[in-house]
Symmetry: C2
Subunit: 165 residues, 2 copies
Amino acid sequence: MSVKHSLLALIYEKPRHGYELKTGFEDLVESMWPLNAGQVYTTLDRLERDELVASPGHDKKDRKLYTITDQGKEELWSWLKQPVSRSLLKDEFYFKYLCASHIDYEDKAHMIQMQKQTMVKDVLHLTHLKKEMNQSGNQTMKMLVEGALLHLEADIKWLDMIAGK
Amino acid sequence: MSVKHSLLALIYEKPRHGYELKTGFEDLVESMWPLNAGQVYTTLDRLERDELVASPGHDKKDRKLYTITDQGKEELWSWLKQPVSRSLLKDEFYFKYLCASHIDYEDKAHMIQMQKQTMVKDVLHLTHLKKEMNQSGNQTMKMLVEGALLHLEADIKWLDMIAGK
DNA sequence: CAGTATCTATTTACTGAGTATATACATACT
DNA sequence: AGTATGTATATACTCAGTAAATAGATACTG
């Protein structure tokens, strides 16, 4: 999504070094999104070049620390402020379906069935996750799970609709 | 999304040259997704390099034609067959919301309101589009619009839910 | 306790997607 | 005649992300 902005958010919280950002990111997304370690460092290089972060030096263990600049804060706020617009075709399945229709893909029914299966599995998985989160787990993530479930519901409803045509 | 695969689909339909792919793409998405002309040619270069397309030569007007190879067809089928998995965080607003929560962003309520406004506007726009499509317009696109509306409904329901907490 | 696996930590060359911009000829308009 | 628009392509560049290598520290295991 935007690794760049999430790193900015983590550095905004407190000064950090590369590896701490990697683990910080993974904590943030509860390991649901594996992050290539290299990406942290390449992104940091670009952030520093663009003066959204700066480095005041290294810590005791010789790890390069980064702090957010004023410009970096502005960038972070403006990213958060900007609503996301979900253009029709930003949804990958819609786009695939459009391509498949265009070329009269013979297996469109199968395609829809497979997609539905994946989504039903996702519903089961997320429902399980939601239960787990009732005991422990952070509140925000629980809401996201709830949102994702509503999303999946809508998707499945739609798949049934188009499968019936 | 995947310009690469949609170009493959268009070439699969019939041999085409670069400019024809640009216009073909824009017809396909009914101009809802502006495509940088340069991207067509850079993508074609990569497709040719990877032997997913080949060029049998130029047409009468000296435009380089491309045809799909067997390997290209396989790539297209496998893309279409593969269900898309929508990881929780692939949704940009969820991700933003997670970042905002993490840093105690003061204006989360405002953020949610802005997002809702954008979505309500989108609903109006798509509802209008749907009506237009009842007369003219292709059937597939109409279904996508219907799907997007279900999606937006779910999103708005969720936004109301989290705004109330 | 020697050997090995895992964790911490970073670097770098590279690929792939997408953009900006330049060019050039043809046609339409005014 | 001059200007805008449409057709057509090329290319250098940026940005995001990956693969793979390196290396020291710590934990585990027979």
